[in-house]
Symmetry: C2
Subunit: 419 residues, 2 copies
């Protein structure tokens, strides 16, 4: 479980296959984000139809609403979302550090106020791991200290070192939970004695009481499956801090994957790429590399070019709801009047429901008339675009021609913009 | 074409089959409403999956935005909506008469101000028919004079008589367009000489220039197919005026279907039923009867009980967006806190994607978190509920047991409400 097979490389770009408890993910792979347990405007069937194989959910949001206990009572995150495939949960670190004035950071953790009702809440490395455990994601992320993209070196060092210390605490709590799961899987655990001190809930939910009508779905609650904790490399925009963070991380355990966080948070793009390039040589080849928060087409291709295997972002759905669509000829704003009478598809090269069913004229009408279907159709296309883009990159890597393919792709993608 | 076969009766309730150019509709049938060319929050695939066979669109809305010419340029209404099955368009009468202060009625037609941009617009019997012709719906509705449910007898008589006079004008314009279509189908028509004086557009669009990528969809543009015009019986809440309206209507032609309008507009429910009961004996058995604007479950069953074959309403989608779901045990408000930890389905008896995939707890979360998917999932279920309800009623009629079935259904549907 969680084995990563490197299939091919083309320069630093990598094609691989990551085997998770709920399914296999071919990499490079774009992961759609279901912040609150729903990839906005899309259903699980939509996501399956467009080739999504793993989705994200956010610990911060689900911790506040509906609460991880409720998700567990409802059968765990897979059952909750109706998504029987792999799920990765972000730890909440990024969100709580984004709250700025509403939070107080200490070595113990982060006190913050809920953006929903202003209530005082607390997340620590241990709590973040417990919440994700209760949610039941396949991949839990370590609780990290994220700083703005323009932060100074001292702040970057502090946050990187704290992230390292917190990683040790995340790992300890995760291992404790894993050992209890192992006992339960072997029938040796007794729930009332093995529950961790911090929680009154059943350890990982177990199969919830389902009505007979939902019995086909109980397979979504696979509480006996192994999970993994993935560390996050920090270090701001300083290559040496990034490398130090990677080395500290690698020294702390034998991880199933490695994440690179704190990028795409306001720093210049050149700095993002420099960090990836400085990390590339020291990261082990045998584990997937996950660049957090990247999801514009040119950035996804740029990340793949620098060895990234996994990426996630809300961009495709957010852009879609704003009427912007990704195409090989650059972004299209469907609200533009020039699409009014256009009977052609949004993206002639795309195989999604939006592009094979509807005209640009109709899609523009949906946005002009504020019809909900428009939000969904452009979100669907944009996610499909990034999934297909990743698959096209993978094919080029396997062919040993990633550089040529990506240059051609980028030239066309940027042609209209520069014209 | 447009043949209606009466399969069975059970008291006044009827089971039939209506054959239209784009498909066969088994009756009783609930027709979802796509006001602006989209059944709100649902895709054509969703509608196919839940058994919808015919949908509505609104002439008033499409006339104002994007305009019937644009719809024609985009391949006609079927192609525009991505719906290759039957489509019925309302004439705009109901909408323009609902504008109250923003309209001026004369014998010629109705001048009104667009609710979108305040521009002065005009619809008449002739224009309403032309707009629907250009849109390309299978079933066009006559342009009628609709009055509020509490109107006095004189107003009801005036509106009924005007509706009758306007029906003659609608029919004349429709026949002129049909004869031109006949010439064109036989290859005898020349577009430049046969276009009606009022329009600069191609007569019915014809196949629009489609990109090669959309060629599989050109079958949606079936301009050579016959269409029909359906008259609307008015007369307020006066049985004798209703009967007079029906008789005037029947004297005016050999219609493919008959609609009953101006009900469900604020009158007491008993009055609605009285009108249907007074019309029942005088309406010909061989044509489907369409009750306009009815779509709450108890009203659909009540209408079927009184011989109605077709009904439409925005209720299932509007209610769904508000978090209200139809079930055999009465409406459920999914926002209610009691659903928070409920792992059971929204409606245990339902076979829709919503009920077979998600728990009540998850659906409540979607509404609490204001996720778009919630609007869609409850809309999907509610439309499915009415389609399934119509099919269950049909089965009971075929079994000769409609009265028993409907009594049992209503008892259960209202039990919790009365408890």
């Amino acid at each position: 479980m969680f084995q990563f097979d490197l299939i091919a490389t083309s320069g630093p770009a990598r094609a691989g296959r990551w085997t998770l408890p709920h399914g296999v993910v071919e990499t490079p792979c774009f992961m759609p984000v279901g912040t609150q347990g729903s990839v906005r405007a899309l259903s699980p069937r939509d996501l399956e139809a467009i080739g999504a194989r793993i989705v994200l959910a956010n610990t911060y949001h689900l911790f506040l609403r509906p609460g991880e206990e409720t998700v567990a009572k409802l059968g765990g995150l897979h059952r909750f979302m109706g998504w029987p495939h792999p799920i990765l949960t972000d730890s909440g670190g990024f969100q709580v550090f984004s709250l700025k004035s509403m939070r107080r950071v200490s070595e113990e953790g982060v006190e913050f106020r809920s953006h929903i009702d202003g209530s005082a809440r607390f997340l620590s490395p241990e709590r973040a791991v417990e919440v994700q455990w209760t949610l039941g994601s396949d991949v839990a992320m370590a609780f990290d200290h994220v700083i703005p993209g323009q932060s100074g070196r001292e702040a970057a060092r502090d946050a990187m070192e704290r992230t390292g210390r917190w990683l040790g605490r995340c790992k300890a709590r995760f291992q404790a939970l894993e050992s209890v799961r192992g006992l339960e899987v072997r029938g040796e655990g007794r729930r009332e004695t093995t529950a961790p001190a911090s929680g009154s809930r059943p350890l990982d939910g177990g199969p919830s009481p389902l009505t007979p009508d939902l019995s086909p779905l109980t397979s979504l609650t696979q509480s006996s499956l192994r999970r993994t904790l993935v560390p996050i490399i920090q270090g701001g925009t300083w290559p040496d801090l990034r490398r130090e963070s990677a080395q500290r991380t690698l020294a702390l355990g034998d991880w199933d994957a490695l994440a690179i966080g704190g990028l795409s948070v306001g720093e210049p793009k050149a700095a993002t790429w420099e960090m990836l390039e400085s990390l590339g040589p020291i990261l082990p080849a045998g584990q997937p590399r996950y660049l957090m928060g990247v999801g514009f087409p040119e950035d996804v291709v740029g990340a793949i070019a620098r060895g990234v295997d996994l990426a996630d972002c809300v961009a495709p759905t957010r852009m879609g709801r704003n009427g912007a669509a990704f195409t090989d000829d650059g972004p299209v704003n469907i609200r533009n009047a020039r699409h009014r009478d256009d009977p052609g598809p949004l993206d002639p090269g795309c195989d999604c429901e939006t592009c094979t069913t509807f005209s640009r004229g109709y899609l523009r009408h949906l946005f002009a008339a504020e019809e909900l279907l428009g939000l969904r159709l452009l979100s669907l296309h944009n996610v499909r675009y990034l999934i297909r883009l990743s698959a096209r990159a993978r094919a080029a890597i396997v062919d040993g021609n990633f550089e040529g393919w990506s240059r051609d792709w980028l030239t066309r993608y940027q042609a209209k913009e520069q014209a």
